[in-house]
């Protein structure tokens, strides 16, 4: 792999004009070569051995994508349910940035290195992303501006890309009192690629971030997505994950609650079938007093699928009056399905309210019996129970448009 990755790197950044950025990329490349894809020996990849998954499903990967010709956006994939701003990634390169619904001077888009991405040295996939990401974009929402319409980020990949790593990265700065809603939609016509996405969010006082990550289209790609969220005083972040379509998907959320009265909400749904293997790993760090976090993850597994949840709540000695909660539930419908959980609490302050719960098991026979006695057949009863199980999470979404959209794609309407 080493030679391949080096020649691909040379090819991709032959005449790269920015020296500082190139050095940064080279450093990250070396770090990735040294560490490689993470395997199960690493605690954070204990339940999903990425190295093995890539070897088994993909084999030798390319790291170079030819971005010379402009790719046309397949407009049939654009969502028509509601008006929105958009950023379109095609094969890891941004082809369109469109903030047509917003006031021009309130949104600023710039290119260049973000100053926060260096802090995750242990994460080799982030190094890979830094090394091969085509451009570093920074998007700033100005003070006191609430975006009128949500921003949808489309991650599209062409049919002709195969056995390739696709790296994309975005940094968002939410200035005081601003609001940003992001919907991530993965839609790819390709098979057998490794897709690596990294977002960095920085929230200043009173800012609100809502991020909905939707992985709904059925595909055979291996995906990794990492969100880093830095929160100052009185900020709120809400993350919703729908984990459904890809062959493998790991969503990782790292959230630092650095300001008083900041809060983080992470809700997730795994709805998996046929050999799929998905994971959510969260780490919420309560660094100062009076912060709050809430996590709810629900999972329904069919037909040899596997899901894993690793959630960590860290409470600093200064973070008194922390309120932290974690709940993960799983319904295993078929034999050979597997649910792994590691809900972790690391607490160094005494005046805190922290708890977690985890439950997994089969569908309740009593509930099925009750519904059947009311005239439903087994299939209908099962469907109704699963719907109720998931709606609990979906109802937590605070944005009506998005909530309805998700209900629609999950066929719950």
């Amino acid at each position: 792999m080493e030679n391949k990755i080096k020649t691909d790197f040379e090819k991709a950044f032959k005449n790269f004009p920015l020296k500082e950025e190139l050095d940064f990329k080279k450093n990250n490349l070396e770090n990735f070569i040294k560490k490689g894809f993470p395997g199960k020996k690493m605690e954070s990849w204990k339940f999903s051995d990425l190295n093995q998954i890539i070897n088994k499903n993909l084999g030798e990967l390319n790291f170079y994508t030819d971005h010379v010709q402009k790719n046309l956006i397949d407009t049939s994939l654009i969502i028509k349910n509601f008006e929105h701003n958009k950023i379109v990634f095609i094969n890891g390169k941004i082809e369109e940035i469109d903030f047509n619904f917003e006031e021009k001077d309130k949104i600023q888009v710039s290119k260049g290195l973000s100053n926060q991405i260096n802090s995750f040295k242990g994460n080799s996939l982030l190094s890979l992303n830094n090394a091969f990401c085509k451009n570093f974009y920074n998007i700033t929402i100005k003070t006191n501006y609430s975006m009128k319409k949500p921003l949808i980020i489309y991650h599209m990949i062409n049919k002709d890309i195969s056995l390739t790593t696709v790296n994309s990265q975005l940094s968002f700065y939410l200035e005081k009192n601003s609001l940003l809603k992001i919907i991530d939609i993965y839609d790819e016509k390709s098979e057998k690629n490794f897709i690596n996405t990294f977002y960095n969010f920085s929230l200043k006082e009173n800012a609100i971030l809502k991020n909905f990550k939707i992985d709904n289209s059925q595909n055979n790609n291996i995906k990794y997505s990492f969100n880093n969220i830095e929160q100052e005083q009185n900020t709120i972040s809400e993350t919703f994950i729908l984990s459904n379509g890809s062959k493998f998907l790991k969503n990782e959320i790292n959230c630092n609650l650095k300001g008083k009265y900041s809060s983080a909400f992470i809700n997730g749904i795994f709805s998996l079938n046929t050999d799929k293997h998905h994971e959510i790993r969260t780490s919420v760090n309560h660094l100062v007093e009076n912060t709050k976090s809430y996590q709810l993850i629900k999972s329904v597994l069919e037909d040899k699928s596997k899901s894993a949840y690793q959630g960590k709540i860290y409470v600093n000695p200064e973070a008194q009056k922390t309120d932290g909660y974690q709940l993960s539930k799983c319904i295993l419908l078929d034999k050979n399905t597997e649910f792994n959980a590691k809900p972790e609490l690391e607490i160094y302050a005494d005046d805190v309210k922290c708890s977690h719960g985890s439950a997994s098991g089969s569908l309740s026979e009593d509930s099925i019996f009750y519904l059947r006695s009311r005239g439903l057949n087994y299939k209908q009863a099962k469907k109704l129970l699963i719907r109720g199980f998931f709606l609990d999470v979906i109802e937590k979404i605070t944005d009506e448009e998005v909530k309805n959209y998700i209900k629609e794609i999950m066929e719950f309407n």
């Binding site: 078929d334 590691k342 809900p343 609490l345 922290c354």
Partner: protein, 478 residues
Amino acid sequence: MDEKNLNLVKDYKYGFSTDIENVKAPKGLNEDVIKFISKKKKEPKWLLDWRLKAYKRLEVLIEPNWQKPKYPKIDYQDLYYYSAPKSFNEKPQKLEDLDPKLLETYKKLGIPLDEQKKLNGIAVDAVFDSVSVATTFKDTLTKHGIIFCSISEAVQKYPDLVKKYLGSVIPITDHYFATLNSAVFTDGSFVYVPEGVRCPMELSTYFRINASDTGQFERTLIIADKGSYVSYLEGCTAPMRDENQLHAANVELVALDDAEIKYSTVQNWYPGDKDGKGGIYNFVTKRGLCKGNNSKISWTQVETGSAITWKYPSCILKGDNSIGEFYSIAITNNHQKADTGTKMIHLGRNTKSKIISKGISAGLSDMTYRGLVDISPNAVNSNNYTQCDSLLMGNRCGAHTIPYIKNKNSDSNIAHEATTSKISEDQLHYCQQRGLNPEEAVGLIVNGFCKEVLQQLPMEFAVEAQKLVGISLEGSVG
């Protein structure tokens, strides 16, 4: 050792020191030392080979370092792996010679004076003591066909039983400390309860580390044959004045069809002083195998001592309908650290397990619950319930919960819950209003918090443990 003392030691017929001389094996870990231990204990060849095999394995193993409490590297070549008990002359002769603090502790524990003497090794060594307890009731036990003796004695008298079961639950290829124990274990207890026998009394052992620079490596093997029942108590209640010492024991339990083993531990090794100097490293491997159908193994532990406690008493639920239970109270104060919990491995059908863990940390201490519940694809219709509660006292200590939950069977249910809290001002206020001083109030509240586990302990231990809970937390309020 001079003649006189040698004779003294020889007087204890059932003590393991009868065949020990006061000659330490040379410092260090090598084949010669293992051969020396084996020779001193007059072991058969198969056991020596077994030890050497473990030693070979140890050479390729790497000491684990994933645990939360870190400790300075142990120089395994700087330890004595075999040493006779200190001569009695070196021990305190009268109660008055003892550290007054120690006496105070016993007074609070409510142990009568003659028992204090025993515990402090004034008349008899604590390890001797455990064997003599066995001797006291030897007749009753023999009548039922129950074997309760030291493992060295069992190797001589019941080699077939030992050969069959030794290492069957913790193989010599296990992790670093377990393998180290297999190579160099010096003594421990052996219990065999024959088919259909319900052991009429609690069996108990007191452990104690004697000399400095030694590691303590006991090996306990308990076998409950079909339809039998035994309750075994392990007390490590003798406080020590030694420097950091390694205690790496192995405990193996085997329960055959319809058998039940109840294993209770009250661990109060020397925890080090207020500044975290000294204390025992308690790295123990405890594992029970529910081999037969309808068998049951229940672990109860009260961990108040040791500088570092690092152990996970586990159950392998192999037989159908077998049950595993784990009840734990772990208390850390001052600079103590604990990383403890359990593993419940469900292999058989209709297996059930229950985990109740209560952690209390005070002072500058750090406490971790780490547990695994693993339901394999064949463990149809299995159930687990886990509850871990942590109580924090003060804002300089830590309490952590790291459960691993693996469910690979769609007919099985796992439920896990954990909470972290502190003693509320209201509770304290209420108790103090009723005339309790703050320390008594905390003791009362903590005992209430631990009640679910304390009531699992046999009577005599429960009273002792309850008092220990109060003592361990002394000085942590205010």
